[in-house]
Amino acid sequence: MFKRWLRNSTVATALLLAPLPAFAQDAPKQGGEIVITYKDDIATLDPAIGYDWVNWSMIKSLFSRLMDYTPGTTELVPSLAESYEVAPDGLTYSFKLRKGAKFTNGREIVAADVKYSIERAVDPKTQGPGAGFFGAIKGFDDLTGGKTTALEGIEAPDASTVVFHLSRPDATFLHVLAVNFASVVPKEAVEAAAGDFGKKPVGSGTFILRDWTVGQSLTFERNPDYFIKDMPRIDKFTVEVGQEPLVALLRLQKGEVDIAGDGIPPAKFLEIKNSPEGAEIIVDGQQLHTGYLTLNTKVKPFDDVKVRQAVNMAINKERITRILNGRATSANQPLPPLMPGYDKGFTGYAFDVEKAKALLAEAGHPDGFETILYSTNTDPQPRIAQAIQQDLAAVGIKAEVRALAQANVIAAGGTEGEAPMIWSGGMAWIADFPDPSNFYGPILGCSGAVQGGWNWSWYCNEDLDARAVAADSMSDPAKAAERQAAWGKIFTDIMADAPWVPVTNERRVVAKSPRMGGAGEIYVDPTRVINYDAIYVKQ
């Protein structure tokens, strides 16, 4: 998930909540209107295109998909599908659609709509970022290559049945059908919008977009015909954009705003935490996020594993979490603690300046060396880069900080031999769905170590790649635990080669007004940030 978590390091999508706040026990109420603020304007609400953490949750609520998650959890459940079957070879998935489910334009949803929607997401003409998710569907290459305009692997034998034929087993396929790109859209509305579907979305989700004043606000109203009873809880929510997180918080304290969508900036965190109403306002949840420092294995002297290990020992992660006002914990492996497959017993590299120096000397750099550290230029990332810079200086490594616009950092990372070190803050990997595989391919696998890729360490280990493919072929639900363990081992084995310094696992801190009810998990939902379907107003 990508693109606009620029301003706030703490904003991330997939999250899980650790402690259950006291308000979790309230019984959900029906009705009420609330106000939510964001800094950035909403780019688009087209499910085939939208791919940033702000519109992600809105698209989730505007549209429905075959599969979805139980609010606040990572548990997959059928949604628009009534039931599904997976063939024993893992290559055929058949879904029965829910009867009577309708688009908000009044038309009943049929199987052909599902086929059309996914083909639309894959079609190069759509210019969507999500095509790659559907790579396992038969005929994918023909469609992206421009040879056909349809996916041969999706069939609609009757109005309520959809069958997917895969070209290879994909243990994450049900998750794929729950990502936004698999949202079902009505063809006639897409065509009527004439290229402006992102501003005039029509779906079958819990909410309907009623009004959109560009650059100011969006109004969403409850969809009275939604196919699940008592969903959503609130009648209406208004999203106000262009609001500085700090200003949004001040307004929230005054009662003008119900949810400050960008979270609490570090500057205000301590003040609010220590204020009397703090406990009621703050929702502090762990998320599936790892902040890391990439060490470019194709740039000297980081081609030497000893140097990479030395850097791993040189970074004082405790101090960085202190700069983040304790809203993060130190990381020691790529996977975040709440991700299935995380190895609790793994300790990684401990902070040890002397040992780091010794390793550097062993690698032939007793006096250190000079290098460059890239970072994005939005607060607090340049500050963290400077903290890392100071730690590196302590072992003799003189790193010049380059704090650039996000796009420039991404370009440098994807150019071979360009960026020796990148602090990932503001661009850190956040899972598209809660599965460890999603943390590997593009950022640590060989497929990402290409021009324009996201594997900024340029780390490519064919052996691990083969193990990853093997793990992802275990699509039999009975083998889930075995698959998880296999994945966990891949990530801890990576650390022997130390292509990254896993630095922090940041928690997400959201602010909500005291009148908002519901467990913390639905404000920091692991699959959609704020779960607009489940939140409710207390009185």
């Binding site: 997180p245 700090l246 900036p265 570090p266 500057a267 205000k268 301590l270 003040e271 101090r319 202190r322 700069i323 983040l324 006002n325 304790g326 230029n377 939005t378 607060d379 607090p380 340049p382 500050r383 880069a385 400077q386 903290a387 810079q389 100071q390 010049e400 900080v401 380059r402 704090a403 650039l404 616009a405 420039n408």
Partner: protein
């Protein structure tokens, strides 16, 4: 010397002169005065929760969000801001003079083309241009100075152009010309000396503008690279703390204001002294 004497007699100009001198002194003597290294992130410079410390006996102006001494950073920041002010503005005035004189003196295609180019640059929204340039070139102290110069020369060019046009029509130049003086002689012996006051005035006033623009670029995150302190990036790194730690924003803000103000006062006084006909003009 005459100018300095005249300035001492005006309280506002005197004030400006003293502040400018003080800022220059502090910048030059920063290593001697600064109690800490400007880049040292001190363990006891933050609370245990990671909040910056307010002004105290140990940290005169408090600490920033990385636990560095704000006073030391401001001192070293003065170096950055002054260097950028002098270099960027020096280049801007030089480009402005060159293009202004050439377009004012030369008739025909070259002069016209130069003036059209100046018009073109005037039409650019300055900050947008600076942002795009800063994104294009990797920001470092010198690049930031270049970017500011590339944005700021236009105004100087316009003024020099107008003045040169005025001079060219004047009798003594026409006389020189009729006597067969070469272009070089006219330009260097007659026109350029008359433009010196303008150059000095703009060289001073422009520093204020430049310091402000550098601060604005840094405020947007595209200024001088960390950890080199500049007044602008000190504020940038702390802007969200303006309520929790107001000293981090408003002390550097006041320093920028005071410095820009002083350069403006000195520049204005210089204009009055060097060119009485311009007296009082904005």
């Amino acid at each position: 010397m005459r100018a300095v004497k005249a300035m001492v007699r005006q309280p506002a100009a005197l004030f400006g002169l003293i502040v400018v001198a003080l800022v220059v002194f502090l910048a030059v003597a920063a290593p001697l005065i600064a109690p800490y290294s400007p880049d040292e992130q001190m363990f006891d410079g933050l609370t245990l929760e990671g909040a910056p410390l307010p002004p105290s006996a140990q940290f005169l102006l408090g600490t920033d969000t990385l636990g560095r001494d704000l006073f030391s950073r401001l001192l070293y920041g003065a170096r950055t801001s002054l260097v950028i002010g002098l270099v960027a503005n020096g280049i801007a005035v030089a480009i402005g003079l060159l293009i202004g004189i050439l377009s004012g003196y030369m008739r025909g295609i070259v002069g016209g083309a130069l003036m059209r180019f100046t018009d073109l640059m005037m039409a650019f929204p300055a900050l947008l241009l600076a942002i795009v340039l800063a994104a294009l070139l990797r920001p470092s102290l010198w690049i930031v100075a270049m970017v500011i110069a590339l944005v700021n020369w236009v105004q100087v060019a316009r003024i020099v152009y107008t003045e040169t046009r005025g001079l060219v029509e004047r009798d003594f130049i026409l006389a020189e010309r009729s006597l067969g003086a070469g272009h070089g002689r006219i330009l260097f012996h007659h026109i350029l000396p008359h433009l010196v006051p303008t150059a000095i005035v703009w060289g001073t006033l422009g520093i204020a503008t430049t310091v402000l623009l550098e601060a604005t670029l840094s405020f947007l995150g595209i200024g001088v690279q960390p950890p080199t302190p500049s007044w602008g990036n000190i504020i940038f790194e702390s802007q969200s703390y303006f309520q929790a730690a107001p000293w981090l924003v408003f002390i550097p803000g006041a320093v920028i204001l005071l410095t820009a103000l002083s350069f403006n006062l000195v520049g204005d006084a210089l204009r009055d002294i060097l060119d009485p006909t311009q007296r009082g003009r904005g």
